[in-house]
Structures are given as structure tokens and as C-alpha cells.
């Protein structure tokens, strides 16, 4: 799902960086506008580290196992901070583990970060509809946030990959391959939605301040 170096044309690479810079700039503006921006720095850093580490956890999907992505959960918990957190997390992954890429960092951050913000937006309905006390609704919105967070990221990544790879592949084949690749990830998307909903309910019981 992370796009590696060497595949994307430079135009897409740069467009990704432009988008990511814009979103990051906006997030930083929000952080700087706070009364005490330094206070949120350890929090953002430790949670970025926690998510980075959490993505090492394997979930069994027979016959194999997969890593958690958790961009939906990150979006739900961090809101606008999710974007810098994802950008930094992806940067570390690229540099420390050669997972993802440096030229594709902008694209990867955008395609994971924007769905994370979308997940946050979905989860906000829980607050707007005054359902924050209900475990059921917390779980439901958690599920939607987690599933859409990953689902959109998967869709975006395959769309970008398939449409920008060099060579002539006709539109119909492109569309089919995007559909098939995305559909293949549906079990993982549902699993992650499910896991996100469980984590969110756990947090509601153990540390409700963490939830927006």
C-alpha cells in the first residue's frame, strides 16, 4: 500500500509533495495558533511513536498475517495533528526500514493523511449528534472511521499506482485492476474498522479524554 521509490513519475511525486505541504502547513498553523503550542509537541511525538510501533503488530488473516495501518484511528484521535504524525511516521518508515519511499513520501502522506482527516470528520458526528456517552455509537463511528480511513487510502493508492505507471494500459483494464485490488483488501478494511471500533471503546472506558 505504501508506494515505493522508482515507480511514480516526477510530476505525481511533486504533486504529492505540494498537497502534503499544504495540509501540513495548515496543521502547523492550527498548532501555532494555540495558546501553548509546545504542550502538544510531546503528545504528538509520543502518539506518533505509539502508532509507529503499533503498526508492527501482526493480525492473522489466514493463510498469512498483515500489519495494522491504523491511519483511521490516528485521524480519529489526533484530528488535524494526524497529518504531521502520518508524515513523520512515513518518513521514519522510509528511512529506518526502507518501507515506502522518499520521492513518494508526499504522495504516501497525502493518500494516508487525507483519509485520516476524513475519519476524524466522520467521528465528529458522534459529538455533533450528542452520542458521546453511548458505547454502541462510539463503536459504530469508530468502525466507520477505521474502515473508511483504510478503505479510502487503499483506493487512492491503487488508483494512483495503476493510473500513473508507465506503459499503455487501456482504461477498462485500469478500472478493473483498481477494483480487484481494492476488493482484495476488503477483509483487511473490515478487520481494521472492527479493531478501530474496539480500541475506541477501550479508550472510552480507560481514558475518555483521548477521544474528541
Amino acid at each position: 500500500m505504501h508506494i515505493p521509490d522508482g515507480i511514480l513519475p516526477i510530476t505525481v511525486s511533486i504533486a504529492g509533495y505540494a498537497l502534503t505541504s499544504g495540509a501540513t502547513w495548515y496543521s502547523l498553523k492550527k498548532i501555532n495558533a494555540q495558546e501553548n503550542p509546545q504542550e502538544s509537541i510531546p503528545k504528538a511525538a509520543l502518539l506518533t511513536a505509539a502508532f509507529f510501533v503499533a503498526s508492527w503488530i501482526h493480525i492473522p488473516i489466514p493463510p498469512t498475517s498483515v500489519h495494522l495501518v491504523l491511519n483511521g484511528l490516528l485521524g480519529v484521535l489526533l484530528g488535524y495533528y494526524a497529518f504531521p504524525a502520518i508524515l513523520i511516521g512515513l518518513f521514519f518508515q522510509a528511512v529506518m526500514f526502507q518501507h515506502g519511499g522518499l520521492t513518494s513520501l508526499g504522495v504516501n502522506a497525502a493518500m494516508m493523511g487525507l483519509p485520516a482527516l476524513f475519519a476524524y470528520w466522520i467521528f465528529q458526528f458522534r459529538t455533533k449528534l450528542n452520542l458521546t456517552d453511548s458505547h454502541f455509537w462510539t463503536a459504530t463511528f469508530g468502525f466507520l472511521g477505521g474502515a473508511f480511513g483504510l478503505g479510502l487510502a487503499v483506493l487512492l493508492s491503487f488508483t494512483i499506482l495503476v493510473t500513473t505507471i508507465p506503459g499503455n494500459i487501456d482504461i477498462a483494464t485500469e478500472r478493473t485492476s483498481i477494483t480487484i485490488l481494492t476488493m482484495a483488501h476488503i477483509p483487511l478494511i473490515i478487520l481494521e474498522g472492527f479493531l478501530t471500533s474496539l480500541v475506541v471503546v477501550f479508550l472510552q472506558r480507560v481514558k475518555p479524554d483521548l477521544l474528541p
Partner: protein, 260 residues
């Protein structure tokens, strides 16, 4: 981590001794220039440059192999679709599979670029302590908020990773089988993720208190001291100019080849 990125950061080589700020600009510029290349004829140049940079870094070849092995396999798994599906000129047909010329060219292009970019990146980030590289990025005008977050994140990844490891051992000692997929297991894993998040958050509150007791946040301080740790020599700047020129040449060559 035995194969840690920083493992060979204390060697001495022209690359190691290069001011990290100029090194960052030069090698990242080279990486992007490589990324721009679409013409097969430039690949030998890329490979030669990559090879030379690597030799100058004095990093062990075993380090490169161990770091590139798994990402390389991952890339090939994706890139194998090119010769099978991309392009119209069929080179050979084996049963239902056809190998196409254009796709094969793309495969060679993508794999070579991937290899070159990752090698240069490994040289860039492996020839200095990672923290130094982050400070260099700050010196190059990266936002102080981002660089502070990066420093702290890097500092605590290993602590939190150890917390996770210990928690997983404790779960295993109570007969938790991570390979079984079940509702209860997913619930346990979600409690694990949740606990990790809560512990990390509470740790951050303690860290913040310790930091402000030593003056952080007062008068807009930051964790990175931007320029004082870097002392550049004129050779550092010259090297940067040389590399920038090389990157520029590569881009021009590519444009020229595209137009002709």
C-alpha cells in the same frame, strides 16, 4: 536493533565527514534527479554515480544487501506486472503469459531507479547519526514544530517498542496465541493497542512536565539548536555544487533524450 540505521554512522569517510546540511541537499537532489529519469540510456550513468557515492561512503556492502533485500522483493512483486501487462510488443509467449517489451523496459527502469535511490538514501541517512540529520533538516528551515516532534518521536520509538515487546511476552506467557483469528483475539489485540496508546500519552505528559521544569516552552525554545553544531568547510560547499551540477546534468540529459 543490530542492523540499526546508525550502526555505521561513526565511520570516517568523505561522505561521513561532509557537513550534513550540504550532504542532505546534494543527495536528496540526486535522488529526485534519478526519479526524473525515464530513458533507459541514462541508467548506466545512474548506476555508476550510485556506485561511486557508495564506495566513498565506506559503508559495508553487507549493510546495503541486508537493507535492500526485503524492500527489493516487495518492489519486484509489484513490478512484475509490467512485463506481463504493459505494452504491445510481444517478446515471447509462454502458455497464457506474454512478456511484452515495453513492460520489460519499464521493469528494468523501475528496479534500477529503486535500487539507486535506496542506496543513495541509505548513504545519506546511514552516514550520520539520525539525530544529526534531523538537526540538519531544521537548519535547512524545516519547521521547529516538526523537527521537535521528530526528535522526540525518534527518542521514544525504542522505549515504546520495548514496552510493546514486553507486553506481548506477558500475553504469550498467559497463552495468548497471536496466530489465531477470533473475536476474542481481536479484542485482546485492540486492548493491547489501546494500552500502548494510553501509556504513551501518559508518558508524554510526564515528559512535558520534565521539559518545562528545565525551561522548555518558555520564550519559545526548541529542542534543536540550529546552526551551532555544524561547521562547514569550503570543500563541503564545493561538493554540494558538484552534486547539484550532476543532478542538473541528469535532468537536462533526460529532457534532451525525450525531445529527440
Amino acid at each position: 536493533m543490530n542492523n540499526a540505521l546508525d550502526r555505521y554512522a561513526n565511520l570516517s569517510s568523505p561522505i561521513h565527514n561532509w557537513d550534513t546540511r550540504y550532504k542532505f541537499i546534494s543527495l536528496m537532489g540526486l535522488i529526485f534527479a534519478f526519479s526524473f529519469v525515464q530513458d533507459l540510456r541514462l541508467l548506466p550513468l545512474l548506476l555508476i554515480l550510485t556506485f561511486m557515492v557508495f564506495i566513498f561512503s565506506r559503508l559495508p556492502f553487507s549493510f546495503l544487501i541486508s537493507r535492500l533485500k526485503y524492500p527489493g522483493i516487495f518492489l519486484l512483486a509489484i513490478a512484475v506486472i509490467f512485463p506481463l501487462f504493459s505494452g504491445n510488443t510481444i517478446l515471447l509467449s509462454v502458455g497464457h503469459l506474454t512478456i511484452r517489451l515495453e513492460g520489460l523496459i519499464t521493469l528494468i527502469l523501475v528496479s534500477t531507479k529503486f535500487f539507486c535511490i535506496l542506496t543513495i538514501a541509505l548513504v545519506l541517512f546511514g552516514s550520520a547519526p539520525f539525530l544529526t540529520t534531523i538537526k540538519a533538516m531544521r537548519a535547512l528551515r524545516l519547521s521547529p514544530i516538526l523537527s521537535d516532534i521528530m526528535l522526540l518521536t525518534y527518542r521514544y520509538i525504542f522505549d515504546i517498542g520495548y514496552d510493546l515487546y514486553t507486553m506481548q511476552v506477558a500475553m504469550k506467557l498467559r497463552h495468548f496465541r497471536a496466530s489465531k483469528l477470533s473475536f476474542r483475539n481481536t479484542q485482546s489485540l485492540s486492548s493491547l493497542v489501546g494500552t500502548l496508546i494510553v501509556r504513551s500519552f501518559e508518558k508524554s505528559e510526564r515528559i512535558y512536565k520534565a521539559m518545562i521544569l528545565r525551561g522548555y516552552g518558555y520564550k519559545a525554545t526548541e529542542l534543536t539548536t540550529s546552526k551551532s553544531i555544524f561547521n562547514s568547510r569550503s570543500s563541503d560547499k564545493l561538493a554540494m555544487l558538484a552534486f547539484s551540477f550532476l543532478a542538473f546534468l541528469i535532468i537536462c540529459a533526460e529532457i534532451y533524450l525525450r525531445m529527440s
